[in-house]
Structure formats: structure tokens, C-alpha cells
């Protein structure tokens, strides 16, 4: 074997020398033979003729020698490549169909799988991530500490709450995301700072030093990447903080955007000791060997103790722990899995198409192959040539697929919904590409070997007798092709149903009335620094003055509210109703509480259903007033006139300050278009008694879009106080769009896949019918010659197509009913078996399939009997 290999190698590298030697050797032979005959008395010409005759065809002998030496491998390959290129260029339709099919399959799969891979499969960027858990419920710092103290399951735990802080360095004041943390958080995540150190436990106490740790982007962008930053002081929300650490560049909290990290005790000492303030996300690291179930049981017993000990606020405790990874991808997972499944279906369809193309081609070329075989080409040579062809196609398809994958990934990332925004590291995955490419290549090889084998196996004489119109090697292949066509149609139908359901759901969602009119409303978030606006009157003055100044701009109507609808925030309070028996502590109804100033309802065009709007006179020092939404009335005041009813927040140890309901406002989809409306209470900012409501969102309506409005608004803010950062500048329209971005993303992608699938399936059935027409040109010619009408010919040709279409549709509907159940969580107010969608989609596919059949069938009509018969 080694010898053979060396021999081959030598001949490979010394190809020219070997050719020369072969020439020399054969020439020597002929010369000796001629000389011999001359000696026997022949003339030179006679001798040469005789010698050559005895020797046989010189070129053929050389060919056989090369073959015998095995030096032919590379040459054959080159020859095959040349031949294949030529034949592929001869049939551009086949070539482009095959390459396009593969390109789409490889490209789409790579793009989608890259994303699924980064989101679902990639491990978290923390050491031993399988030990990390998150609690579904937020909790307070005292509870977190008690649980840590009273359990044995956790190596460490930590909590974080994100708050805006104002960074006033150089230039415009900026709002930064501050993570209010406890000292245990970093140990739990298991990451070390790049520079300096983390906040220590003895600093994480009441009156601890004002130390902060900064994120890498903050350090780079705001602190100039200063390597000597440790120990320096920066100003945040009016206080000086000392930088003690810088986190590494790849570090991020699991879910929360954070620019800086500061102890909760230091940044917000009022909230830190409050057990009832459940505002921290908590993370837990299991001790090695402890299971989730054990930890859950452990934490449940502490929950019970806390509930007994603090019935006021902790009564309904039930901390639910989930693996961190699940918690993070929980929302995106169904969508990604559905997409992944769709891509798999498209890949199947593409492979089926590729297979059918190759099979049809092999049958169409059977005669050519037979002739070549009869001229002396060996079976292995013929198979090798077919393999060269399918490999070349696969390579071309793969190369084109690479382009598609690149474009696709970029496209998806550009589309990516907010839920994917955390995953900054998504990029095209090369391993994924190789994997998908290998799969499609194998498909190609398999489906080439199958027909190649049967084509080369065929008896030459028989093939020549059977003639070009032979039906390939029999019924089995026809059956396989029919099966592939039906399967393609079925798969395409499943995708179409999925897409149809998502589209319907999305349209439903889009047509949901948000309860306000988003047109031409611009919004902007502000927060007053506590250091300079500690008291409510100061805040009220600022607000009133700001609104007055902005309202003085021409054509502008401005108001403000604590939290905008669809922006994802609101404040909950427990509420009591005057004259009703007080519910048990901790069971009072919870409602959204929104503070407003100016004509908020007018600006947002939220209708007042009963009573009246707030007036400028509903202000501090006047009777307390409130407006509730319809959901509030439905749930709590259904049996009495809401107007004049009095409500208040639950209060401990102080008398009630009853607010009188003066109006009922229309419901607003505050938490999202697909979410139910929660009961809500609106009250004037100026009558508030909660000084921590230092934040507000300006809403400004103009009759038409005004250029420079945002800059004018900012100018007004900074003319009042130049140290106040402005953020989240966005129009209500944008906010609406963002709120349905995830649904739009799902719908768009599945629609693309479905369109792709339908196209591929259409090409598949078209190819099959066209091929059949081709094969039966002769029969059809006879049929027409015997007087068949157009109608008869059409029926004959389309009969198979229609049968397969119907079969595919039935199979597809069954599959769709089985599979679309998996996407229930993605559908808004649409059942997965929505009959209208099923019917519409089936009709759509049937129409497309019939069209795909009709085009080649029409060609059958134009067959000239004479020409058809001459094909013989």
C-alpha cells in the first residue's frame, strides 16, 4: 500500500516526466518491431503499418497505461470538472435552481442557527453557570439577607435594582444606569474587577463610604479609559463618589443594564432597610452538589417563617427559583424554537428539491450515460462524474449560502427585538455554517449516489432499446419523487399556517386600541436630583414652570405623567375605598398609581367617560382629587357611582387622606397591547405626598411634526436647571412600534420562511410536471394526433400534480394542527387551529401548486404531433 501510494505520488509530481517516459517506452517498442519486420524483408512502410496494427491504438494504450498507473486521478478530476462545468452551463435552469435551493437552505439555517446558538445554547458568561439561579419575584434587601442567613443551600446571593443617576462630568449631564447592589452580588456571579476591587461587605452598611465600581464602557467613554482612575472622585446625582474598581469589558449583569455599581445602603439608605420594598432582582449560587429542588424546599421554609413574622407585607411569599439561563431566555425561547423549527422545515424542503432535481437530471441524462458507457466509460468513472457534479453544485450552493448567511445574520440583527438586545455577541457562527453545509452536501451525495448507482447499473442494451422516453428505472423512483413532492407541499403548508397565524395575531394586536392617540406626541424623561429637589414644593414649582415654558412654544400642548403607557414602568399601590370594610392587611387590591400635571388626558386624547378632567385649580392646598380608569370602576366600584367615591392608599399609623374621584378616564393599555388593562388611579403631581416621585415624562403634542421640537424642549429644561439630564426621547408612535417589535420580528421571519418554502415547493412540483411532460412528449403527441382536445391533454398532464397537491395539503393540515400547538404562546387572540387561516392558507398553496403545474402543462398543449413522433 505504501509502495502504491509513493508510486502514485511520484507519478503525480513527475507527471510530465512520466508522460515522456511512457512515450519513450512505447516508441522503443514500435521501433524494435518495425526493425524486426524490416529484417524479415518488409518495406519500411509495410513494416510500420504492420507494427502499428499489431500494437493497437497508441492513444488508447497510453490512456490505459495512465489508468493502470493511477496517475489519472488528478487528471480525471480536472477532466470531470471541465466536463461538469460545461454541462452545468448548458442547463442554466437546473444549475441555478440547485444552487439557489442550497444557498437559501444553507444561508437561512446558518443565520438562524447562529442566533439560536448564541441565545439558547451558549453558556452564560459566568463561571459554573449551572449553579446560578434567579428568583422570579423581586425581593427586599432584609429578606435577601434573612434567606441567605437561614438557608444552607446557597454559597452566596446578591441583589440588584437599577436606578437612574445623573452623571455630571464634562458637557451635557448624562443619565446613567446605576446598579444599587449588595456586596454579595459579584461573588455570586463569580467575576472579578479588571482594576481595583468590588464593594466589600463592611462598606455595604448604613453610612458606608461613597465608593463605586464602574463598568468597562463607562470607564472607557466617560472616564477616558484612565488607568489611574482608582481613587478618583466623580459626581453622581449631586454627590461625590470614589471609584474603587473597573469591571472587565465582557462583564454584564444577567438582565440589567448597568453603567456603575454602588451599594444600596450608600446610594439609597432610605430603601435599604425596608422589608416591604421588593425591588431587587436576586441571584443565587448553589453550593456544589445541591439541587434546585433542595434549594427550593430550603427557601420555602424561610418564606413561611418570614410570612408568619411579617404578616404586613410578606404574607403571600412564595419565592420561585429558576435556573438563571431559563430565566434569561424564557421569553425568547418559544419564538426562537419556532423559528428554528421553521428553518429545519425549509432545509428539508430544500433537500427534497435538490434531490428531485438531481434525480430528474439523472433520468433525463440516462441515455447519454448509457451511450458513454457503451463507448467504454467504466461505471466508477460515470459515478465519479456525477459525484463531481453534485459536489460542485454543493460547493457553489455553499458559497452562495455563505453570502446569504452573512446578509441574513446582519438582517436579523438589524431587526432584532428588544429581547435579543442583551445578546451583543451574536455573529455568524462558522461552525454552524460548516455543519449545515456538510448536511446539505451529504444530502447531495446521497441522492446522487442513489440514482447514479441505478443509472450506471442499468443494462446498456436495454437502455438503448428503452429509449430516451423510458420512464427512468421504473416505478420505484417515480414513487419516491411523488412522495418528495407531496412532502414538500405538506411542509410548506405547515410553515404557511404558522405564518398565517402569526400574521393574523399581529394584525389583531396592531388593531388593538391603545386607549390614546399616539399621533404627533413626543415624549422625554426627566429626573430631578434629590440633592436639590428634596421637597415636594420645589419639585412642583419646577414642573409648573417647565410646563408653562413649553406650552408657551407655538403650536405646542404639553403635559406630564410619572410613567408613560407601553414604556414598561408603573408604580403600584394598595388601595382602600372609603365606606368599605377594610380587607385583611396585605390583601388590599393593588392598582397603578400615576401622577399627572397639565392636561394629560387632552394631550394623549384619552377620553373622560364620566365626570370631569383635572383643572389647574386641583392643586396643593385644595381638596384631593383623583381620576380612575374604567377597569378600576369595573373591578371595585361596579355597584356604586364612582363619582364622589373616596379612595386612598393603605396607610400605617397615620390617618387617611381621602381622594375624591371626580372623573373616569378611558382604559389605556399601559403594560402592552397584548396585556389586560390594570385598574389605575391618576392624581395631580401637585397634591402628591410622596417626595420620591422626582421623575416625570413630558408628553408634547403638536398639530404636525415640528422640526427642532426636541431641542426646544431640552433648552427649556436646561434654562430652568442646567444639571438635569434628559433621556428616553421618543415619539409615542415609536413606543407603539417598539412594544410590538417582538411580535413583528416573529411574524416577519416566519412569513419569510413560509414564502421561501412555498417557492421551493412550487419549484419542486413545477420541476416534476415539467419533467413528466418532457418524458411523455411522444405519448402526448400521439394523443393529440388522435384528436385529443386541449382540455383532455391538460387533464392528463395535471392529474398527477393535482393529486399530489391534494395529498400534500391534507398531510400538511394534519401536520399543522399537530405542530402549531407549540406556538400558542406566540399568538395573540388567535387559536392555533383557526379555521379561517387554515382554509385560506390551503387555498393559497393549492393555487400556487396549480399554477406551478399549469405552466408546464400548457407547454404540453403546444406539442406538435409530427415533431413528437419524430423524437423516436
Amino acid at each position: 500500500m505504501v509502495h502504491g501510494l509513493l508510486f502514485r505520488l511520484r507519478t503525480l509530481f513527475r507527471r510530465h516526466a512520466a508522460e515522456g517516459e511512457l512515450d519513450d517506452e512505447l516508441r522503443f517498442h514500435l521501433e524494435r518491431q518495425i526493425a524486426k519486420y524490416q529484417i524479415l524483408g518488409m518495406s519500411e512502410a509495410e513494416a510500420e503499418r504492420r507494427a502499428r496494427l499489431e500494437f493497437g491504438g497508441l492513444d488508447q494504450v497510453k490512456d490505459e497505461c495512465r489508468e493502470a498507473r493511477g496517475i489519472n486521478f488528478v487528471e480525471t478530476l480536472l477532466q470531470d470538472l471541465r466536463y461538469t462545468t460545461r454541462t452545468l452551463l448548458h442547463s442554466p435552469a437546473f444549475t441555478s435552481c440547485a444552487v439557489l435551493t442550497l444557498a437559501l437552505a444553507v444561508g437561512a439555517n446558518t443565520a438562524i442557527f447562529s442566533i439560536v446558538n448564541s441565545v439558547l445554547l451558549s453558556p452564560l458568561p459566568y463561571p459554573n453557570p449551572q449553579e446560578l439561579l434567579a428568583a422570579r419575584q423581586n425581593d427586599s434587601r432584609p429578606n435577601l439577607k434573612d434567606i441567605q442567613r437561614l438557608t444552607n443551600s446557597f454559597a452566596s446571593s446578591g441583589g440588584v435594582n437599577i436606578n437612574p443617576m445623573d452623571f455630571t462630568g464634562k458637557g451635557e449631564p448624562s443619565r446613567v444606569h446605576a446598579a444599587y447592589v449588595d456586596a454579595g452580588l459579584l461573588a455570586t456571579l463569580g467575576v472579578q474587577p479588571m482594576l481595583g476591587r468590588w464593594i466589600s461587605a463592611d462598606e455595604d452598611v448604613k453610612g458606608g463610604p461613597r465608593n463605586i465600581v464602574v463598568s468597562y464602557p463607562f470607564w472607557r467613554d466617560f472616564l477616558g479609559g484612565d488607568p489611574h482612575v482608582l481613587g478618583k472622585s466623580i459626581r453622581l446625582s449631586g454627590n461625590g463618589y470614589t471609584v474603587i474598581g473597573v469591571m472587565p469589558s465582557g462583564f454584564a449583569l444577567p438582565k440589567e443594564p448597568a453603567d456603575i455599581f454602588v451599594s444600596l445602603w450608600v446610594a439609597y439608605p432610605e430603601a435599604a432597610p425596608l422589608r416591604g420594598v421588593h425591588f431587587m432582582h436576586t441571584y443565587w449560587r448553589l453550593k456544589p452538589g445541591v439541587t434546585l429542588t433542595q434549594a427550593q424546599a430550603d427557601i420555602a421554609q424561610v418564606d413561611r417563617r418570614l410570612a408568619e413574622q411579617f404578616p404586613d407585607g410578606e404574607k403571600g411569599r412564595g419565592t420561585l427559583l429558576v435556573p438563571l439561563h431559563d430565566w434569561l431566555v424564557g421569553n425568547v425561547r418559544p419564538a426562537l424554537l419556532v423559528l428554528f423549527g421553521s428553518v429545519g422545515l425549509v432545509l428539508l424542503i430544500a433537500c427534497a428539491n435538490f434531490a428531485m432535481l438531481l434525480m430528474a437530471r439523472s433520468v433525463a441524462r440516462q441515455r447519454e450515460l448509457m451511450i458513454r458507457a457503451s463507448l467504454g466509460a467504466s461505471n466508477s468513472r460515470l459515478i465519479r462524474q456525477r459525484l463531481t457534479e453534485s459536489t460542485l453544485l454543493a460547493l457553489l450552493g455553499g458559497a452562495a449560502g455563505l453570502v446569504v448567511a452573512k446578509i441574513g445574520t446582519t438582517f436579523l440583527l438589524a431587526l432584532k427585538p428588544a429581547a435579543l438586545r442583551r445578546f451583543t455577541a451574536i455573529h455568524m457562527d462558522v461552525r454552524v455554517f460548516v455543519f449545515v453545509f456538510a448536511i446539505s452536501m451529504l444530502t447531495g451525495l446521497l441522492f446522487v449516489l442513489l440514482p447514479a448507482w441505478s443509472a450506471s447499473r442499468g443494462d446498456i442494451a436495454e437502455a438503448l432499446r428503452e429509449n430516451a422516453r423510458a420512464t427512468g428505472s421504473g416505478a420505484s423512483r417515480g414513487l419516491l419523487r411523488s412522495f418528495l413532492v407531496s412532502a414538500e407541499l405538506a411542509l410548506a403548508l405547515i410553515l404557511l399556517v404558522g405564518a398565517g397565524l402569526l400574521i393574523k395575531g399581529f394584525l389583531r394586536l396592531r388593531s388593538v386600541n391603545p386607549g390614546f392617540n399616539p399621533a404627533n406626541v413626543m415624549t422625554m424623561y426627566l429626573q430631578l436630583p434629590e440633592t436639590r429637589y428634596p421637597k415636594i414644593p420645589l419639585q412642583t414649582n419646577f414642573r409648573r414652570e417647565l410646563l408653562a415654558r413649553i406650552n408657551a412654544l407655538p403650536g405646542v400642548e404639553a403635559a406630564m405623567i410619572t410613567d408613560l403607557p407601553l414604556a414598561g414602568n408603573y408604580v403600584d399601590h394598595r388601595v382602600v375605598i372609603d365606606g368599605r370594610p377594610t380587607p385583611a392587611v396585605g390583601t388590599e387590591p393593588e392598582v397603578q398609581t400615576l401622577s399627572v400635571m397639565g392636561d394629560y388626558f387632552g394631550v394623549m386624547q384619552i377620553p373622560i367617560r364620566a365626570g370631569r378632567n383635572f383643572r389647574a385649580t386641583d392643586r396643593e392646598g385644595q381638596p384631593l382629587m383623583a381620576i380612575v380608569n374604567e377597569a378600576f370602576v369595573r373591578q371595585y366600584l361596579a355597584d356604586q357611582n364612582p363619582l364622589g367615591s373616596r379612595i386612598d392608599w393603605t396607610r400605617r399609623n397615620e390617618p387617611h387622606k381621602w381622594m375624591t374621584i371626580i372623573g373616569v378616564a378611558g382604559d389605556v393599555k399601559h403594560s402592552g397591547l397584548s396585556q389586560p388593562v390594570d385598574p389605575a388611579v391618576y392624581a395631580p403631581f401637585s397634591q402628591n405626598d410622596e417626595a420620591w416621585r422626582r421623575f416625570m415624562t413630558l408628553v408634547v403634542k403638536t398639530r404636525e411634526p415640528v422640526a427642532g421640537l426636541v431641542e426646544d424642549m431640552k433648552k427649556q429644561v436646561w434654562s430652568l436647571d442646567s444639571q438635569i439630564p434628559v433621556s428616553d426621547v421618543q415619539s409615542m408612535d415609536d413606543l407603539m412600534a417598539v412594544s410590538v417589535a417582538q411580535e413583528r420580528f416573529n411574524m416577519l421571519l416566519l412569513a419569510i420562511f413560509a414564502a421561501l418554502a412555498q417557492m421551493l415547493a412550487g419549484v419542486g412540483i413545477y420541476g416534476m410536471i415539467a419533467y413528466r411532460v418532457n418524458q411523455r412528449t411522444h405519448d402526448l403527441g400521439v394523443y393529440i394526433a388522435l384528436g385529443a382536445q386541449h382540455r383532455d391533454v391538460l387533464r392528463l398532464v395535471m392529474k398527477d400534480g393535482i393529486r399530489l397537491t391534494l395529498l400534500g395539503i391534507v398531510l400538511g393540515l394534519v401536520g399543522a394542527v399537530a405542530l402549531t400547538r407549540l406556538m400558542v404562546s406566540l399568538l395573540f387572540e388567535v387559536k392555533p387551529t383557526d379555521p379561517l387561516t387554515l382554509i385560506a392558507v390551503a387555498l393559497l398553496l393549492a393555487a400556487a401548486a396549480l399554477l406551478a403545474c399549469y405552466i408546464p402543462a400548457r407547454r404540453a398543449l403546444s406539442i406538435q404531433p409530427i415533431i413528437a413522433l419524430r423524437c423516436e
Partner: protein, 110 residues
């Protein structure tokens, strides 16, 4: 071509070449001459088919080649048997003898 000559059964050419080369290294033409002489022109070997066979045997490592000078002072390619080739010759020869014995036995008795 003499009408009494017979075609060589498939696969026997290799055996004959090996046997021919067992005595001494020869170039291709000499092999063909030798075959013809020994068989008294009874065998009909297309001369061209000799060379692919030689190359095939060389690839298998049963014979090896070197360029030398022929008896008429020309550059010629000489083939000689390798050790493996010698062993192979024995094997093939054995097989051939068994085959012919069986065939003739059947022809005589059946």
C-alpha cells in the same frame, strides 16, 4: 494473424509476464517477443495491451522498472521481478495449475 492462434483468457497475461520476467530483467518489447516465441505464436496477445499490464504490475509492486541500455544500444525501460512479485508468481502459478487440473479433469470425466 494465424487462424490457429487463441485469445488469452482474462487475467492470465499477468501470470505470463511475471513468469517471463522471472528469468531475467527485460524491456517490454522483449517480453512480447519472448511470449510469442515460447508459445510458438499460438497465443494472440495484442502488443498494446502488454504495457498497461506492465504498469499495473509495477503499481502493485510486483515488478519494478529502471532505464537501461538495450542490446542494440538504445535507451529502454527494463522490468524485473520484485520479492513480492516472485512470491505472487508462485501463488498465481499454483492457482493456475489447480484451475487447469480441475478443468481438464472435468473435461475428461464428465
Amino acid at each position: 494473424m494465424p487462424s490457429r492462434s487463441i485469445d488469452l483468457p482474462q487475467g492470465t497475461l499477468d501470470l505470463l509476464i511475471l513468469r517471463t520476467l522471472a528469468l531475467e530483467p527485460l524491456h517490454g518489447w522483449a517480453v512480447s517477443e519472448r511470449l510469442q516465441q515460447i508459445s510458438s505464436d499460438l497465443l494472440r496477445v495484442q502488443q498494446g495491451s502488454l504495457y498497461p499490464a506492465l504498469h499495473r504490475l509495477e503499481r502493485r509492486g510486483w515488478i519494478k522498472s529502471r532505464w537501461g541500455t538495450s542490446e542494440n544500444n538504445r535507451r529502454a525501460k527494463f522490468y524485473e521481478l520484485t520479492k513480492i512479485g516472485r512470491r505472487q508468481l508462485e501463488i498465481e502459478r499454483d492457482a493456475w495449475e489447480k484451475l487447469t487440473a480441475v478443468v481438464s479433469q472435468i473435461l475428461e470425466t464428465a
